[in-house]
Amino acid sequence: MNTLPQQLANGLLLGSMYGLIAIGYTMVYGIVQLINFAHGEIFMTGAFGALTVYLYILPDGTTLAVAVPLMLIGGAIVAVLIAVGAERFAYRPLRGAPRLAPLITAIGLSLALQELVRNFYPGADRARAFPGLDATHDIGSVTIKDADIFLVVAAIVCMSGLAWFVRKSRTGRAMQATAQDPDTAQLMGIDTNRIIVIAFAIGGFFAAVAAVAYGLKYGSIDYRMGFLMGLKAFTAAVLGGIGNIYGAMLGGIVLGVAETLASAYIDGIPGMDKLGGQSWANVWAFVLLILVLLFRPQGLLGERVADRA
């Protein structure tokens, strides 16, 4: 059996999830040059928000067709509120402070969010089961689940929506202006604080969509799920060119596919059997990142911009 189509599908799916989360890093960075390291935890709280809707708000036995949209809404509300709250209370007071200050704040915030969920969410000190969309479909030699279809559709819809929003809407254009030059944008009458809040909110929303897809796909969530996913998504954002929304999605997909193919095929190359397999996936992902950054320091789709002093 030729496994390549299946492995490509695996990689695309994983990559779409990275891409959705990477949007949050890249939008915030593009506008305020802040790496919001708590974004992985915003993703995690989105998952727990969605689970709360399913377990404690909806009546038992609600079919997933009804439950999933409501879970999305619940997860999005939680993730957006936390993202916006983080901006308002953790990052805004530090705007203008040396760059290390908000960075350390982000790390602290992410630990705080993890511990809050671990200590106060019922049963969250270990993995909690999440309803899964497990019905499978065979397309040629590729097997995919309903949850995978949800992920792909969600990624496409969200990306197209975002592209339209940024290009065509008034707020989106204001965003572009703020990203280009915040001071001039403000002088032109753009409320930059509002734009920054919107960037955080969009990031939170995308993270929540990714979180619901994650839960539906893997069937369990835990309080540390945001760490590695966040790190990978950040890598994807850098790989694609941080600050560029298309770059984030492309970077996610490239990273996901590279990881999957590396773990699938490298140990089959003669002499490389010790350097392949699942456990080396992360190593190859970062090797790829280093290679891309060596030859294209601005990332795949990043633009070479004059550095601000």
């Binding site: 059996m1 496994t3 299946q6 492995q7 695996n10 990689g11 799916l13 994983l14 040059q33 790496i35 390291f37 760059r99 290390l100 960075l103 350390i104 790390i107 671990r118 000190d125 270990r126 993995a127 089961a129 899964g132 497990d134 499978t136 065979d138 097997t143 689940k145 994650y214 893997y218 069937g219 369990s220 540390r224 799920m225 590695l228 996913m229 790190l231 850098v238 941080i242 990881e259 999957t260 193919l261 773990s263 699938a264 140990d267 397999g277 699942q278 456990s279 996936a281 992360n282 320091p297 550095d307 601000r308 002093a309």
Partner: protein, 410 residues
């Protein structure tokens, strides 16, 4: 340039932040009651939060029940016991800190734990230098008692280390035998998590399975904390294996079995005692049906002597899962307490006043342990391994672990 160096700096910072965990050490002074009773502490080290915590809490409360029994029934007249449980988060570095803290506490006479073989490796030396007994209810890696070259030249590395669990050498062989002869499986795909326990167990299983005439079609390794096994699942599907053997913990194996069954690969996942926990079934759901795990000893629920233990554990509403190691933790704590009684008797019914004296005199007495525990006879051989070498295969049936075969390896 500034922005790029920021990116690099942040990456370095995050990785640094990861490796730093809260450090702390305590040095409690002795606790001598003035009314003639002495209070000693039984230390516990196990993962009490995060990964593996279900089984870790089973160890803590298994010891707690033993200590309560000892206090209630006056096992050692004039001595009361309490439990000091420290969380190692399944990480060797935390285990070492905890071992240092327990050695520093002048009321601790011995420790039960840890859960993970990899953590045990970092703790053995600390306890050995302090001459303090450590009994693990669950470590199964052969190296811990029989030295690095256990296959050719058995040599006990630490005289302070004991265990009430059997080794992976026996567990892996038992699993291989059941897979080949019981399940009639011929082609196994072997995966491990690269940890001391998982890699050791998977290796032994593979060797024995091949020895019996089966084939290991492919091997792979995963990282603890991995969530997406899509690539691995496709490989397994393509390999034509009729059994997946996994050396590691339930955190990863429950996700692997779910993703495997979701991809339409209906072969059972077989693992060791590291995944024998209710959380495995809760996380994997229906996908876990038919999966198997070996565990040390006989099922606690079926032992008449353990009935009281199980009832007490449930009545107190203790968290965690006593099924895997609760009974062995009870017996490990009992061994320490009974050894203290022996020390006291040998010393003219008086306890040595110096804690270091108590600790070092306890070692030979634990070595000589010979009593009926709740899991069977408790005794240790010349390596510190248990004399009770029974093992059980469990299978997930209707959403619960059911014992399907109990026995010893020939």
């Amino acid at each position: 340039m500034r922005q790029r160096s920021l990116v690099i700096l942040t990456s370095v910072l995050t990785s640094g932040a990861l490796t730093l965990t809260a450090c702390g050490s305590r040095d409690d002074s002795g606790d001598k009651g003035d009314s003639g009773t002495t209070t000693y502490t039984i230390g516990v080290d196990a993962p009490l939060s995060g990964e593996n915590s279900t089984t870790g809490l089973g160890i803590q409360y298994g010891v707690q029940v033993a200590v309560d029994d000892a206090n209630k029934n006056n096992w050692v007249p004039g001595v009361k016991f309490k439990v000091k449980a420290l969380d190692d988060k399944a990480q060797p570095a935390s285990g070492q800190q905890n071992a240092t803290a327990l050695v520093g506490d002048k009321t601790v006479i011995g420790t039960v734990g840890p859960l993970n073989s990899g953590v045990a490796q970092s703790m053995q030396q600390v306890f050995a230098s302090a001459n303090m007994v450590e009994i693990s209810p669950s470590n199964t890696n052969p190296e811990l008692t029989q030295g690095k070259n256990w296959q050719t030249d058995k040599k006990r590395p630490y005289k302070t280390y004991f265990r009430t669990a059997t080794t992976d050498e026996l567990q892996g062989s038992f699993a291989a035998d059941y897979a080949f002869n019981g399940l009639k499986k011929k082609k196994a795909f072997v995966v491990d998590d690269k940890q001391t326990y998982g890699a050791g167990l998977a290796k032994i299983f593979g060797e024995k399975f091949k020895g019996l005439g089966g084939t290991v079609v492919q091997t792979d390794h995963v990282n603890t904390g991995d969530k997406d096994f899509g690539s691995l699942v496709t490989k397994i599907k393509n390999s034509g294996a009729d059994l997946l053997y996994y050396g590691g913990q339930y955190d990863e194996s429950s996700l692997i079995t779910k993703q495997l069954k979701d991809a339409g690969v209906k072969i059972p996942l077989f693992g060791g005692d590291g995944m024998f926990a209710s959380t495995y079934i809760e996380t994997a759901g229906k996908a876990s049906e038919g999966d198997l795990a070996t565990s040390v000893g006989v099922p606690v629920d079926t032992l008449p002597a353990a009935k009281q233990f199980v009832e007490t554990y449930k009545a107190k509403g203790y968290k965690g899962d006593y099924g895997a190691y609760g009974g062995y933790s009870y017996d490990a704590a009992s061994a320490i307490i009974k050894a203290l009684k022996a020390v006291k008797d040998a010393n003219g019914d008086k306890l040595p006043s110096d804690i270091n004296d108590v600790r070092s005199k306890l070692i030979p007495e634990v070595q000589k342990s010979d009593f009926e525990g709740i899991t069977g006879k408790v005794s240790f051989d010349q390596y510190g391994d248990t004399g009770n070498k029974q093992l059980t295969v469990y299978q997930v049936t209707n959403g619960a672990w059911k014992a399907v075969k109990t026995g010893t390896v020939g």
